[in-house]
């Protein structure tokens, strides 16, 4: 028996592939390229399909034939591909072919692009048969976690089989298949949380109990759905390469990419969107793309926003895209921006907020200093009120206030937001790498939750300049006050609890301030206990007892000491409630 002799089960990769093949492919035989010990033949007896296998290893071929399987000796790596194909067509002998299967074979061949191209030609010669493949995922968490700590453990079989010569991640497989003219029909990737890579068991990258492993698992879940994918199990139809189709190399980036995309979120009804757009037109740095996301299912609303946009100067107008978001929650327009932004960064502006001329300029300065981080500048708040009988919808009623911490403190941000959405921008490279999206389930605070996740992964490059004005409406005209306070609180705590369920990466310098706070709290608690003990000792003192009649006469009867105890208790209660509130 060879090392590739496996028992068949419907739960195994072969079982999954067989089921998928049977479901997605038409009638006809199964041509199994690189069939090994013929394990994949087993289900097709039950599925009543003819099976034809070819294999490079003569011993395997002999054993297959001994079991009565229709298996032949062919070297698929033979450079004379036409001769190989001729031989396969000959073996098929004119019978209809449902699918060509290549299970755990492609990774053993040196030039996968050429393999796919050859398979395309073969499928055409076989009258439009489908292709079914299974390929190990080299980005499985078990490999990723160990590689992070400098280990690359090849094994006799499995994910890092020592005879593998090419390696696939999910994206690589998709690009190579698409570029070779294949259209995916189905995918039933085999998931495995325990693999043959789980050794040595006490290694910190392997043990599920370590914080490191838990963090790596959470991190690996972000970029794609293949953290636990053991094998990619896919079915394709060959369509041929269309000349217009071009697959850009992931390493290349377009030169025309603007520095920043700006998502302007509007429900369409407000004239104030002109304030926001005019502020953008007046930017000192106009290397921007403006996406106006109209969150409305009303055609007239969309048309009116388009009409407003059409009034801008031609150069600026060409930088604006109007996007219609007919449904979804508050996150829907924001996520639409994340989907389509072409800039290196994406900034956000609600239609009632305004910015100074250096808004983009400051974001760029922050990005130059620390590329790839979240960039942030300062924001003032200004109270506004609606002016029902006035010449305009609303007007400011106060000057500026600066209620937000000028520094970006991640721990403080985990408590409550200190960065209105107009005061930061997120790098699109990270948005794509981590599939960052606003949580559409949240009724409010979606921007805070997003920022905390992004900043936790990327860090923040912060500027001291004030560049945005967050317009607050004391009379409920904006969204801030029109949503029930209870919903805000409930959502805030739900977010905080959820974020705290996975390990968090903190920037340098984060722990010491927290440690000092604990020390302060302990000192305060000790001071409280000492004060209380003193008061109680005084109460028990001989002097206090002896002077009781005097107090009786004066009518004071120890009221002041009770008051002191009451005050001390109030202090303790307040410390407790502050802790609960924060």
């Amino acid at each position: 028996m060879s090392r590739y002799s496996f028992d068949f089960s419907w739960d195994s990769t072969y079982g999954i592939a067989a089921r998928m093949l049977d479901d997605t492919c038409g009638p006809g035989l199964v041509l199994d390229l690189g069939c090994g010990e013929g394990t994949f033949a087993q289900p097709f007896a039950e599925l009543e399909r003819e099976y034809l296998g070819v294999e490079l290893d003569p011993g395997s071929v002999d054993r297959c034939q001994a079991q009565g399987l229709d298996v032949h000796l062919i070297d698929l790596a033979d450079p004379d591909t036409d001769a190989v194909h001729d031989r396969l067509v000959e073996l098929v002998g004119g019978r209809p072919v449902a699918a060509v299967a290549m299970l755990d074979v492609i990774e053993h061949l040196v030039d996968p692009a050429r393999v796919f191209a050859d398979l395309g030609r073969l499928l055409e010669r076989l009258g439009g048969a489908r292709l079914v493949v299974s390929i190990p995922n080299v980005t499985h968490i078990d490999i990723a976690s160990k590689l992070l700590l400098g280990r690359w453990d090849t094994t006799s079989t499995g994910l890092l089989d020592s005879t593998h010569v090419t390696f696939f991640d999910g994206d690589h497989l998709e690009r190579i298949a698409r570029a070779s003219g294949f259209v995916e029909l189905d995918r039933r990737d085999k998931q495995m949380t325990v693999t043959e890579q789980e050794f040595p068991l006490d290694h910190p990258a392997v043990s599920r109990a370590t914080t490191l492993r838990q963090f790596t698992e959470a991190l690996r879940a972000l970029p794609d759905d293949h953290r636990d994918t053991y094998q990619f199990v896919r079915a394709y139809r060959f369509e041929g390469v269309t000349p217009t189709e071009s697959t850009p190399d992931p390493g290349s980036s377009a030169r025309t990419q603007p520095f920043c995309s700006v998502l302007v979120r509007t429900q369409g009804g407000r004239a104030s969107i002109d304030d926001a757009l005019t502020c953008l037109a007046a930017q000192t740095d106009r290397d921007v793309e403006v996406i106006v996301a109209v969150h409305s299912d009303d055609d007239d609303v969309v048309t009116s926003v388009e009409a407003r946009v059409a009034r801008y100067g031609s150069a600026f107008r060409r930088q604006i895209v109007v996007l219609r978001i007919p449904s979804g929650g508050r996150s829907a327009p924001l996520n639409a921006g994340l989907e389509m932004a072409s800039g290196r960064y994406l900034a956000f502006l609600d239609d009632d907020d305004v910015v100074t001329a250096n808004w983009i300029e400051e974001f760029r300065a922050a990005a130059v200093r620390a590329p790839g981080t979240v960039v942030r500048a300062q924001c003032v708040a200004q109270e506004h009120a609606s002016t029902p009988d006035g010449l305009i919808d609303f007007a400011p009623i106060e000057g500026f206030s600066a209620p937000y911490n000028p520094e970006f403190d991640l721990v403080q941000h985990r408590q409550f937001n200190q960065s209105p959405i107009c005061s930061w921008a997120v790098p699109m490279g990270a948005v794509r790498a981590f599939r960052l999206r606003f949580d559409d389930e949240l009724p409010v605070l979606e921007d805070w939750e997003f920022l905390v996740r992004a900043a936790g992964l990327l860090g923040v490059s912060n500027r001291s300049a004030f560049t945005s004005v967050y317009r607050r409406f004391t009379d409920g005209w904006g969204s801030t006050k029109s949503i029930d306070e209870a919903v805000w609180l409930e959502t805030a705590y739900a977010i905080r609890n959820r974020l705290d369920m996975t390990p968090t990466l903190l920037p340098a310098g984060s722990i010491e301030p927290m440690a000092r706070l604990r020390e302060d709290a302990a000192a305060m608690s000790a001071a409280y206990d000492a004060a209380m003990a003193q008061v109680e000792a005084f109460e028990r003192s001989r002097y206090w007892k002896l002077t009781a009649p005097l107090r009786w006469i004066t009518g004071r009867r120890g009221a002041s000491i009770s008051l002191l105890k009451l005050r001390l208790n109030t202090v303790r209660e307040r410390i407790g409630s502050e802790r609960r509130a924060n």
Binding site: D274, Q378, G390
Partner: protein, 299 residues
Amino acid sequence: MFPSVGVQIVTYHNDPQQLIRLAEGIAATMAQAREAGVEQVSVEFGDCGDPASIESLHSALAAELDGVADHVATVAFGENLGSGGGSNALAARRNDDVIWVLNPDTYPSPQCAVELLATLAGDGVGAVDGRQIPIEHPKDHDPVTADTSWGSGSCFMFRRQAFDAVDGFDSHFFPMYCDDVDISWRLRLSGWRVCHAPRAAVFHDKRITVGAGVAISEFEITSGTLARLWMTRRYGRSDIEAETLTWIDTHGSPGHRAAASEFRRRVAEGDVPALVPGAERVAEFVDGEYAVHRFRYVT
């Protein structure tokens, strides 16, 4: 609607890109004005700085305004006339029904011109200013009639008839500041109304300080203080003049002191603006400002 509008911008060592952006904004808003019935549009840039720089920009500015403006000019004054003096010089070159003064560091919203013109067309209105963003000016206006104490020169539109009737800006307010308050008050003394058009949004490139206030440069302090002293002289408030000078002598910054010494020099030379007859009827000196303010920014 007024048949002709002359847009005029006085520049002084401005960033060329800023002026080109402004021209783009003017083109867009004047295109809307044309749709609303304006027939003739002229745009003139008058430069108080290096003559070569504004002339080199002519073709770029004209390209932005192509198809909207019937006439585009870049005028090199060859000397620093100041904001008011420059505006007067540009106004004197043309005879448009409406004069629209814009600062070089502004960007009008597309509806700005139409909204200003609509307010200017009101009964007895001689001048109208726009609503500044992102830092809204705190001076008050009547929420129904739109009447206001004075209009801001950063985006100030006049009927020519009114502008000429008061001989335009007073160039005593060199190089700038308060010339807008002064012309507003003189217009009101002549019986014209000065109004605010809140729907006429205009971006004005003001910055916010680290203390969440509005940034004021040392130049603005000197120029603004000197202007304030002229205003007290012109509108017969010797009490405020004395109070201001005393405050400067005790607490003033170098910028304040420079203004006081220049003021005293010019007073000694007899170079002072004439007292305006009937000044008390229009002059509003309120808490150091020239109008009731709805709120205050920290400086």
